[in-house]
Symmetry: C2
Subunit: 430 residues, 2 copies
């Protein structure tokens, strides 16, 4: 069985190392040896420790259509040329393994259609949450169950930053700088801190969990750049912690169990410290899955890095190699449910709100009336400070996001409200 | 595709419910409808809500060899008649799904040999940790990786009891009684509290993780009946918590990476509160896996119960049905590594020891000398109380269990030692 590798950066180098070091183990598990047929790179002269020079080629196009290649592993990343190469590989009868979350979230439908058309395997465990076996359990183990919700920390960089803010009371900018100096965040941290990376993963998870087409553009996305030390301190006061969450929910309809749509969103939110996700520290990832029969499950581990990502790719490689050897491709993604993705305004959530108010009689009544006017029910309200420092902390019951947004606007227009100092959604059980 | 069910208790009833309720979803995922062909029970007259009476039969033997049955699900439990029925089913060309941990841990080899011989599938996700997708990730996702260690809380009853002891300072007997009154523990709790259930699961996990044959009899087993309120309080003082752990370890040799053997053991041990397993509360299960490339992973969820177990069975059922439809059985268990299971004495671990001592000069020196005499290095020692109440708390570095046991015996023989009041192993990173 011969394998072509597209790209040989951090992850690719680890894949090569594992293929060589674990050759005997892999052969035993597949039933036949796996051999590297070629490695497509842009700069063949770059030093890559442990990578056989004679396998390098700059002609990726030729490599993916070579007759002696059975399986193609794509770790180039980005949209092009990755998409064209993967499509050509499948067209030539090769099965494909990829870690490319951006491409899957933007145009997975084209890839899955090609896999179906040409009878090829398309596996992508490494695209979400690194080495954590997550897609396979969702796709295979829970296939006989009914997933209600997926709630996850799927971006290590932002979790590291928020964890530093929670642990040391650091502000966002200081925590970001530290993450950059330690290599947890890139020089341009936009993809991570603005939630783009998490949104791509949320789209992939939602599609798999609900058998319905979801792209990155469908995902409501808010990053963590606006999270302040005050927000984090406010969360502490509620015995909560702020995490950047990717949330995929099936929204039930009044009648049918399949629901009237799905909600897919990424934003910073408070979760109770007793929630299993609250204890996910540093750059770790974890995904919480709620299913009808299985109940609550959690998957935890390193969400990125060369070796963990390579481990996930090797797991896929063994599965695909067995399918190829047996002549039967694995199951192709099915999106038979075709549920609509609901706008954020229809999503039901809870808010935590901190408001600076003037210190006069009737303030609480005026504020409470504003919530009532938008049909938002208050779970708890607390007055903090006196005089110039008077502050109200309000936690709502669950309400449509549009009603909550309208309430915020209403509050900002009240004379007695000097400033809305913190607004944050609350997730985890009420 | 026709399915026979053996046994219709709590789990079986849930399997029937899911097969009927989710029929459309299952058909979409398998590619063909799944139909219940028959349900073998001992007492057909018992009331079983939602179970079609006309499918019940008392002739399990006939059911498993019927020509119109493709897949057999076994949820009878115990060794016989489950083993004979499963063997006959495979001999008749049927694939088998089972939740039977006792049988797999006692005589899995016979079942796997039959699966290989007759080209049948034998899937058993539900046998360990209920609905938590654990065996499939170990078998499939981590197949290209190298597992060093599996550390798990795999028995909900004992975790509930230890959690109550930790949270409320309850003694073992009170906590057991409460667990029994709430239905978490059975009237005869032996299988749970003496660690038999956890040991069977440890054998299954070790076999899968290390590709080496392990039976329940190979597992070193200690239950939690001797865990005292003082042990739990001692753990708190160390910022640890006591958990009943199932531990499967590959023991490295000086030269080869495959190691000189495996250690498989079940006992109560202290783990640091910062360890992800420490926050597993009530009757939940969680399994921590350490692999070379993937790093640390954790799988968390409900470890038992009708619906979670049925969910795991349905996941297996879809996989097996796809294999049957495609005419290609899935991978059969491979135990090619054949590593020896090492005796407990050779296992390297750490001890926490509490000793009542007489209050005189040189006590610490005498105790320290006893540790040194057995080659056990002390990590920390603390003197608590004075006079009649004088106590030493010692935490060792890692040492062979035999040396630690010998040290304990030596300590008990010292004149200055009035009693060894607590001995507990310490797991999690040193």
């Amino acid at each position: 069985m011969r394998v072509a590798l597209l790209g040989c950066g951090v992850v690719g180098t680890e894949v090569v190392r594992l293929l060589i070091e674990q050759a005997d183990d892999l052969a035993a598990r597949v039933g036949t040896p796996l051999e590297l047929a070629g490695i497509a790179v842009r700069r063949p002269d770059r030093v890559r420790s442990g990578v056989p020079k004679e396998l390098l080629t700059t002609d990726a196009q030729a490599l993916v259509t070579r007759d002696d290649v059975d399986i193609v592993i794509e770790v180039i990343g980005g949209i092009e040329p990755a998409r064209t190469l993967m499509l050509e590989a499948m067209k030539s009868g090769k099965s494909v393994i990829t870690a490319n979350k951006a491409l899957l979230a933007e145009d997975g439908a084209t890839l899955f259609a090609a896999a179906r058309e040409y009878g090829a395997d398309l596996y992508y465990e490494a695209s979400v949450a690194g080495a954590i076996p997550l897609l396979r359990p969702l796709r295979d183990s829970l296939v006989g169950d009914h997933v209600h919700r997926v709630l996850g920390i799927v971006n290590g960089t932002t979790n590291y930053i928020l964890d530093q803010m929670d642990t040391h009371g650091a502000g966002f900018n200081d925590a970001l700088e530290e993450a950059q100096s330690l290599g947890y965040a890139e020089a341009d941290p936009t993809a991570d801190v603005e939630g783009f990376d998490a949104a791509a993963k949320a789209a992939i998870l939602a599609q798999l969990a609900f058998h319905t087409p979801v792209t990155a553009a469908d995902v409501h996305r808010e990053g963590i750049t606006e999270v302040s030390a005050a927000d984090v301190a406010g969360a502490k006061g509620m015995d909560c912690v702020v995490k950047l969450l990717a949330i995929c929910e099936r929204i039930p309809s009044a009648d049918g169990r399949n629901g009237r749509g799905v909600s897919v969103r990424v934003y910073p939110a408070m979760i109770p410290r007793s929630h299993p996700l609250a204890s996910v520290r540093e750059a770790y990832n974890a995904v919480f899955v709620e299913a009808e029969s299985a109940g609550s499950l959690m998957f935890y581990g390193a969400g990125a890095g060369g070796a963990p990502t390579a481990s996930a790719i090797l797991g896929d490689l063994v599965a695909v190699a067995r399918n190829v050897a047996g002549g039967t491709p694995g199951p192709v993604e099915v999106t038979y449910a075709k549920l609509p993705v609901l706008p954020m305004g229809e999503t039901v959530t809870r808010y935590y709100i901190q408001v600076d108010v003037t210190d006069e009689a009737g303030v609480l009544a005026t504020v409470a009336e504003e919530f009532a006017r938008h049909g938002v029910s208050i779970q708890a309200v607390r007055q903090v400070g006196l005089g110039e420092e008077a502050q109200l902390v309000v936690v709502t019951h669950r309400a449509p996001d549009a009603a909550l947004t309208a309430t915020m606007e209403g509050l900002r227009g009240l004379e007695i409200v000097r400033a809305v100092t913190s607004v944050m959604r609350v997730e985890g059980d009420e």
